[in-house]
Symmetry: D2
Subunit: 295 residues, 4 copies
Amino acid sequence: MMISNQSGISGTTGGCSVPIRVNRNTRTDPTMVNVAGIMFGPNEIGIIAGPCAVESKEQLIETAKKVRNSGGAVLRGGAFKPRSSPYSFQGLGEEGVKLLCEARKETGLPFVTEVMDTRQVEYIAEHADMLQVGSRNMHNYPLLKEVGMTKKPVLLKRGMMATIEELLHSAEYILNQGNDQVILCERGIRTFETSTRNTLDLNAVPMLKHLSHLPVIVDPSHGTGHRWMVPAMARAAIAAGADGLIMEIHYNPDKALCDGHQSLSPEEFDRLMNDLVKIARSIGREILLPQPSII
Amino acid sequence: MMISNQSGISGTTGGCSVPIRVNRNTRTDPTMVNVAGIMFGPNEIGIIAGPCAVESKEQLIETAKKVRNSGGAVLRGGAFKPRSSPYSFQGLGEEGVKLLCEARKETGLPFVTEVMDTRQVEYIAEHADMLQVGSRNMHNYPLLKEVGMTKKPVLLKRGMMATIEELLHSAEYILNQGNDQVILCERGIRTFETSTRNTLDLNAVPMLKHLSHLPVIVDPSHGTGHRWMVPAMARAAIAAGADGLIMEIHYNPDKALCDGHQSLSPEEFDRLMNDLVKIARSIGREILLPQPSII
Amino acid sequence: MMISNQSGISGTTGGCSVPIRVNRNTRTDPTMVNVAGIMFGPNEIGIIAGPCAVESKEQLIETAKKVRNSGGAVLRGGAFKPRSSPYSFQGLGEEGVKLLCEARKETGLPFVTEVMDTRQVEYIAEHADMLQVGSRNMHNYPLLKEVGMTKKPVLLKRGMMATIEELLHSAEYILNQGNDQVILCERGIRTFETSTRNTLDLNAVPMLKHLSHLPVIVDPSHGTGHRWMVPAMARAAIAAGADGLIMEIHYNPDKALCDGHQSLSPEEFDRLMNDLVKIARSIGREILLPQPSII
Amino acid sequence: MMISNQSGISGTTGGCSVPIRVNRNTRTDPTMVNVAGIMFGPNEIGIIAGPCAVESKEQLIETAKKVRNSGGAVLRGGAFKPRSSPYSFQGLGEEGVKLLCEARKETGLPFVTEVMDTRQVEYIAEHADMLQVGSRNMHNYPLLKEVGMTKKPVLLKRGMMATIEELLHSAEYILNQGNDQVILCERGIRTFETSTRNTLDLNAVPMLKHLSHLPVIVDPSHGTGHRWMVPAMARAAIAAGADGLIMEIHYNPDKALCDGHQSLSPEEFDRLMNDLVKIARSIGREILLPQPSII
């Protein structure tokens, strides 16, 4: 493959133009992304779990403990929430970030939370262990540049309307600022199918790993929109070669302020983790456990 | 769930209106589909493999032997081919069906082949072990009725832009004629993504099994369009709960008259079958082997 | 543009591969399609209207008179209906064709009706003035070949899932059998948008006329799915350069057995025809009136 | 229609949930949007034109003069450009805004330019006559809130894969901050069709005007991606009822730094404006001319 320095595009692979810094051909080994000591990459499989939104101290701490006890390696939780309607719950904001810090202290789990505005990046980067750029912001180039200027790892979710090629170009914006700690996330795309919230495009897993050296994880919660479908698609994602999963868990899904219908209960999550260990072993991998010092 | 006899629709499940005869709630157990003794259903996983098109006696017999030796249970091969252009190879027609019968005699594998025209149904049903209604004909209602009037099992592929609900309604046309031996097949849908031939919608596997009692298989060859992606997505389909797979195999993919770029070589197929055995066991299932009398 | 006789593809125009017989470059002038004396082509604009389905003698004759009196040139009406569910009204069949013949006798309007099965082609070609291949059958190649072998003009609707390029390839199947009397019809495509039944792709009008010499018409009834939207999109289609329209009209839309929600009442149709005359003149064209001998 | 104050949603119209402030039912008359004296609304039709990106003083001033002389009412030009690749031309930034101010001084045309980052809003609102929120930022809620807090009119483009309902919810974010000067813009959506850059969804015009009191304009340049298609689709948009158009014009399209293939030359734009006058009159409207004091 030829590398063209002028355009920053290094040829086309599988019909995609793949930019130079994310391109698999520019590195000998796949990239490892270090989230407070938890290593995402080609070896063990990392599980990120937690509530859609941080709602209260009790909700977050109780859910976080369940996540850790079942083998989740990283906590997720939304403090600043992008909602289609201005009248929906918009998240607890900075108060939510503080609760995430408390949950980390209590459980030892590092956490990832979403950043939506260039003006929030500095504050969130100071507290969180990983910054999430959500699906609706995958094309928000000023935000991509801003997170690229931090030293924190970035979880970049594919836009619900974005091609695999565009996801790689958005990742390139981050790497181009000097930050190569980027995890790509397939979370379902918008199609004509309406029985599921999105169409989980697991083809993206082998394709992204073919084109890029970055780790790839999957979000089966948004990718299906139905709690009862999450286990099947979580297993499928691992079998397809994903380096991790991000899932919504709530200690009481029926009372969740958002996405309860797609959140696993702690018991469902625990059962799923047992299944994932078996699937991972069947393809010669292991689920990455929480750091020994934590448990 | 209420059953309305007037409309034939028995309530809505997961946002879908599910017609009465295919509806999961109308049977105690999942349906088993019997393809010349090979049983597709909730127990073992059946693998269908073979060339996109029947091209010659040598090509077909050699490929069929490889399929059987690696553990494929049913042979596939196109005799009448639906091609976008009138100038593309249209298949060998009845000559192709005769070669499929010879391959069956030689290897003991039953075969499935596509039927495109109501006028062909009688002839093909006389010779083939299963009739395939292809993606382009999922909405061809006269054809659905005609195959419903035969006693042969039917492999019904999802239209490339058909919803899960529409697939179930098309299956209902077949069951409504008295034939309940229908296998549903997810084979990829058309979306905005262009790096893959189709977007393989594995969400359809748990959704279809949730809504219907019919077995569900997956076609990772058309679902990806890239030979190197087939193993990852075949594994993912099994992990998602599919009851089988249909894959394109060619004894010399680079010389194939159609779909060579997405056909596995015999060696690739053999390696994949070994992987599938492990994946199946990790979820408590087994790959269905060719009938003992054959091997 | 080079013409390649081997593949039947004559180069690529606007990113499309355009087959040889439908290709604009292979004819000096646009093709005129003669529907019992009504000429569809680059000059006057032809309006096809009538009920979704033939329901009864009264319904059809009364609606046909309204169509003629308001300036419609061709009557439409479904006798064999492709319905997603086997439990929906499937049309009156041959009885419906007979009623269409009666309506023609009564009003002088030629009629177009849908053919779904290769075995129906001979019968319908004997009675109808134009054969419609519907959206669900655009990829039904045996049917395309069969209508290509008749001497009757063909109204070929774009598949709801078909690209512009695929529509041209399907038309090529008809021309390749010796029948060049083909009218292409944009009728809306399936997208993620759910507030309308389909997304009417008016881009297809200038694109198809750029690539092919065949006339292009638009179906704003299926393209919107809402009666109140039909006039706006009918006007837009003419302004975009369409050579005609096909619309659903019912003498009592609220009682229609199918598609009542998208059928115009006779009064709405009459008002729309007046508007269309003005739009047509503003771009230097005229609406084609029913044959003088008729009125 | 019931107005629910709790959710901010006032019932469902045409299958859409329409929020309260943008809802047609909450105002007696359609909203007029005042862009420096140019009134967008249900009366005259306003034309916005100019280059994709501001490239140089000469390019901008020469193009702006052509726009004004042919009857364009507002100048467009990108200073901060959202580009898929970090290696593409990113716009002249503040220097571009200064050139737009010069062009306004020279021609008397007010201008609209895109804002991508909450931190730019204050600066751009100080200089521009209208703020554009581009397709990629339709879901950027902090940005929507920020432009909602200014006193400047906002041109809100539909996301390339956003539903009509989501567009209305995004507009609601702006109105909810106290700014009701919002123009909605259909600019093409992403579908499976590849011969055009996007699928221009003109259905959105009557649907948006049915659901909301806000003016609706159309962008046939991005909606087609082909210069030669722009006139046909500009005419169609007006015939469908659009309150205006936004188009890319370049004084030398073949030398444009971006989007030259979809930019009209000044001569093409002038011819098109003559056609639009006729189309507008055929539906009883007029093209809004530049302010008398200017010419």
